[in-house]
């Protein structure tokens, strides 16, 4: 019993266990407990969670706001679609290019814009994102313009062609991997340096933290995460329109982090599910409310911010406390 408890406390074991739980969704759908469409909804939410995790490193740890997440995610999506469909490149090469190119652009943008902070950085990144969206509309040969670009389920190592369910497993594996890597980074030297930077620029500099370097690292990480999400998106949803990669999506990423929990890995995931999956899964099912699902979602955001300003993930503590109280009361 003790060893089991010890295992359960191990964060890596928790991540794996969590991944296995998520992987149960298609099986439950097969038995008929879930609708099959839940696979697409949840898979999509997990993809957005990956990009949101990157933004959480940037916003939560280093305290910088970016409104460019959707632009970089879209760029990666188009690149991967273009590389696999038009250039006929293997998925592995496509994924490499679709992460490398947006990241390079992201670092360049970071180099010129990271000297400014706060709302100004948000505006600068928003401008970059809007330039990209406009590019998606205009560069027909590359993006197919307004009619949208289609892509296929990927073929891994040239042998395994994925379908919706196996692609869902692939997404969950990538998500768990990204969660573990994020956990390692934010709990080590990098996380401390970013925290220090947010807490006090003067103190972090005095302790040897190079501000511009670390801002660039955080920005690059956010771009890499967004690119990974973009690649997964285009091969899971199988199309990409310019209108998807709008300011609304970037704001949704912010909402996910604020709702779920700043600097919380599981919180980011919770936020992604609330923002992307809850309207589809629950609110649309309610009679009379199906048209209002996004309004209800807005109300939910307001309620969460009022009652859990640090994120809904901290509701867990309250639930635990209430549970303990009940148990004591029963005794």
């Amino acid at each position: 019993m003790k060893t089991i408890l010890k295992w359960l406390r191990n964060p890596y074991f928790q991540f794996l266990l969590f991944g296995i739980l998520l992987a149960l969704v298609p099986i439950l759908a097969k038995i008929g407990i879930f609708k099959v469409s839940y696979i697409t909804t949840l898979g999509g939410a997990f993809i957005f969670a990956i990009a949101a995790l990157g933004l959480n490193i940037l916003l939560g740890y280093s305290g910088l706001i970016s409104l460019g997440t959707s632009g970089f995610m879209g760029l990666a999506a188009y690149l991967s679609a273009y590389a696999t469909i038009d250039l006929n490149l293997p998925f592995e090469v496509a994924i490499f290019l679709a992460i490398l190119i947006p990241t390079l652009i992201g670092v360049l943008v970071g180099l010129v814009s990271l000297k400014i902070e706060g709302i100004y950085l948000a505006i600068a990144t928003l401008a970059v994102s809007e330039v990209m969206r406009k590019t998606f509309e205009e560069f027909d040969f590359f993006t197919n313009g307004f009619s949208g670009k289609t892509a296929n389920y990927p073929t891994l190592f040239g042998v395994f062609t994925l379908d919706r369910t196996t692609m869902y497993y692939f997404i969950v594996s990538v998500l768990v991997l990204v969660m573990i890597l994020t956990y390692n980074m934010v709990n080590g030297r990098l996380g401390r340096a970013l925290n220090a930077m947010r807490g006090s620029e003067a103190a972090s500099q005095a302790m040897g933290v190079n501000l511009l370097n670390h801002r660039l690292i955080a920005f690059a990480l956010a771009t890499i995460y967004a690119s990974i999400a973009g690649v997964l998106y285009v091969h899971f949803i199988k199309y990409s329109y310019p209108s998807i990669w709008s300011l609304k999506l970037s704001l949704d990423f912010l909402a996910m982090i604020i709702i779920g929990g700043l600097r919380s890995i599981y919180g980011t995931l919770l936020g992604a599910v609330i923002v992307f999956a809850v309207p589809d899964l629950f609110l649309k099912q309610l009679p009379y409310f199906n048209q209002l699902s996004y309004i209800l979602n807005g109300i939910l955001i307001i309620l969460v911010i009022i009652f859990y300003p640090h994120g809904l993930i901290y509701a867990g503590h309250d639930i635990k406390r209430a549970f303990n109280k009940l148990r004591k009361g029963a005794k």
């Binding site: 030297r189 990098l190 220090a196 006090s200 003067a202 103190a203 005095a206 040897g208």
Partner: protein, 274 residues
């Protein structure tokens, strides 16, 4: 870069003709002093004398308009600090604390101490993300070192508590610990006694001496609490309105007329002042 022309024999820090002006205000004007190895050196002056500005010039938070600041680094080489960026200073072996404690509330005490070791980590981000054995070992060793330092300060029982909500005296100690973990040659303490009660101040005095003796480093103390300064400093430099006033042992400073005038504002004739 090495500067062999400057004679740093027995010295750790040498400041020559340091001047910085903000607009028309000369905050520091032609200030020179030097700190010997293994010395507790006090920098005193009335409010607005330019102590903190001088200090920010040394740590490169401000770039002075003129003057030179030489520092003997951890390897014993003489560095002109003006050639370095603010974040490179700690690596040379010069670390500072802050007047208003600058810690990260959300992090635990031990993590705050580990920030002081930032430049000593060798593992790359990549090997940290994938937890290579080397990175894991390094993190473990640094953590043990941080814990040891907390032990010497007597606050190891709080190591894993968040900094937010800790009493002020503890926060001061955590900041002290953060400066110690970088193996400094010179520690600059910016008003370490501010906000401490009498008992804590006495404790601080013995801690400063102990650190100096055990680590073999020098300490530059910028402080208002005269009792503490007179108690622990080997030598003191007094400044007023950015200008050098006097230099000497605590006793000499106490008896110095110019210092008394600056502090107490007594009008004296010009001939007695000299």
């Amino acid at each position: 870069m090495q500067n062999n022309e400057v004679d740093m024999n027995g010295l750790v820090l040498k400041i020559e003709e340091l001047s910085i002006a903000f607009g028309g205000l000369k905050a520091v004007d032609g200030l020179s002093f030097e700190i010997k190895e293994n010395e507790v050196f006090g920098l005193i002056g009335p409010n607005g004398a330019g102590k903190t500005t001088a200090f920010n010039c040394i740590t490169q938070f401000y770039k002075p308009n003129s003057g030179a600041i030489y520092f003997k680094d951890r390897k014993g080489q003489t560095q002109n600090l003006l050639e370095h960026n603010v974040h490179e200073i700690i690596k040379l072996g010069l670390v500072r604390t802050f007047q208003n404690v600058e810690l990260i509330r959300e992090l635990s005490i031990i993590d705050n101490v580990l920030i002081g070791a930032h430049t000593d980590f060798k593992a790359t981000i990549f090997s940290q993300a994938f937890r290579s054995p080397k990175a894991v070992r390094e993190e473990r060793e640094m953590r043990a070192k941080a814990y040891e330092i907390l032990e010497t300060l007597g606050i190891e029982d709080r190591a894993n508590l968040p900094v937010g909500g800790q009493p002020y005296g503890i926060l001061k100690k955590v900041e002290f610990a953060r400066s110690l973990i970088s193996n400094p040659k010179l520690i600059i303490l910016d008003e370490p006694a501010a906000g401490l009660n009498d008992v804590e101040t006495i404790e601080l005095a013995s801690r400063i001496r102990k650190i100096r003796d055990e680590l073999g480093c020098s300490i530059l103390l910028v402080e208002h609490d005269m009792r503490l300064v007179m108690d622990v400093c080997d030598r003191i430099c007094a400044i007023s309105f950015g200008k050098f006033l006097a230099k000497g042992t605590p006793k000499e400073i106490k008896e110095n007329k110019a210092v008394q005038v600056a502090y107490l504002g007594i009008e004296v004739d010009h001939d007695t002042k000299q």
